[in-house]
Amino acid sequence: MSDVSLTVNGRRVSGNAEDRTLLVHFLREHLGLTGTHVGCDTSQCGACVVHVDGRAVKSCSMLAVQASGSTVVTIEGLADGAELHPVQAAFKEHHGLQCGFCTPGMIMTATDMIARHPQGLDEATVRAELEGNICRCTGYHNIVKAILAASETMAKGAKGKAKQAA
């Protein structure tokens, strides 16, 4: 057993867990954050993607104790209060989800992808970057559309903010 201390969605949390506890299980079972899902055993489906220290990672392939000391953002922490994150809003607007199971991982992957491509995204890049996220419902068509739209919205938002700052 080890003590695990994390900052999750802006809140400092700690708990005691078996060393073999995966980060995803710590989030789900110790913290009750069940938005992060487990869809495979081989770190391929991406339903478990969260951000650790600002980077998208698969929380099914990391021990909770490995993450101790880190800052974690999960799907529950993405929206700004009642206001949806632009990626969440785009998934809704463009019907980028059906059963919703892969969706949290998709959205966390998408926000990370957009952040790493401030110059913008094209369809081929989005599809390649979704390598580690499997969806069985949507055929990806509307997921790709949603991510491209969110990327544009966020770029405009950033420009707007830059203007305001100037």
Partner: protein, 265 residues
Amino acid sequence: MYSVNYHRASSVADAARQLKNGDAKLLSGGMTLIPAMKTRLASPSDLVDVSRLKELQGVKVSGKTVTIGAATTHYDVSTDEKLKKVCPALAHMASLIGDPAVRHRGTIGGSIANNDPAADYPAALLALGATIVTNKREIAADKFFKGLFETALKEGEIVTAVSFTAPAKAAYQKFRNPASRYAIVGVFVTKGKDGARAAVTGAGEDGVFRSKEIEAALAKNFDAAALGGLKVPAKGLMSDIHASADYRANLIAVMAKRAVAAANA
């Protein structure tokens, strides 16, 4: 996953000490080890985490000499601007490993110490004629990769860095297994001061290997045309539900040609 005891190493020396516990294993990014433990295929008693050690992080470029800390992630290698200038092929190769989330955690040291027969880095390091630096010695890549999941590493030995001289030309081409996305065949070619080298991953029954046929053809003329009539023997190549040995032999030739074309582009 079986029960395990986790230790976070404070230094390489500390990690070496901790490794003496029971059946301890080093943990870096964990992208192979943790999934193997989840399916109970691996069952170390202890894990010694070196992924946060500052001394193992980062890419250093000095002239043509490149040194990469063992705990540098694939993402950091793939996006390193200095590396992209002197050896863009390696940055490109790192960008093809797994998926973005895997690249954020997986490390070069973990990849080569594991020496998965379908991993990408072993091919790159062989073709680059790299040196693997451990806490005890330096090992030439040609001597380091020993077979399936086997390396020259001795008990308690820890990879700390890899270094190589950037070649004049290099490129990597990978043909993915449609399911696992690991390489069915990956070919890394280089043209350095000692001539052409070509290493193949994903295909060999004994893991990564240098292709005599390709290197011989490229020795005279480092050009895709030189590989026109190349026949790669299927003997010694893996055969599974995804690819026969014949198919892999064909892909080696095709990927080699494309790699050389990319290196010359």
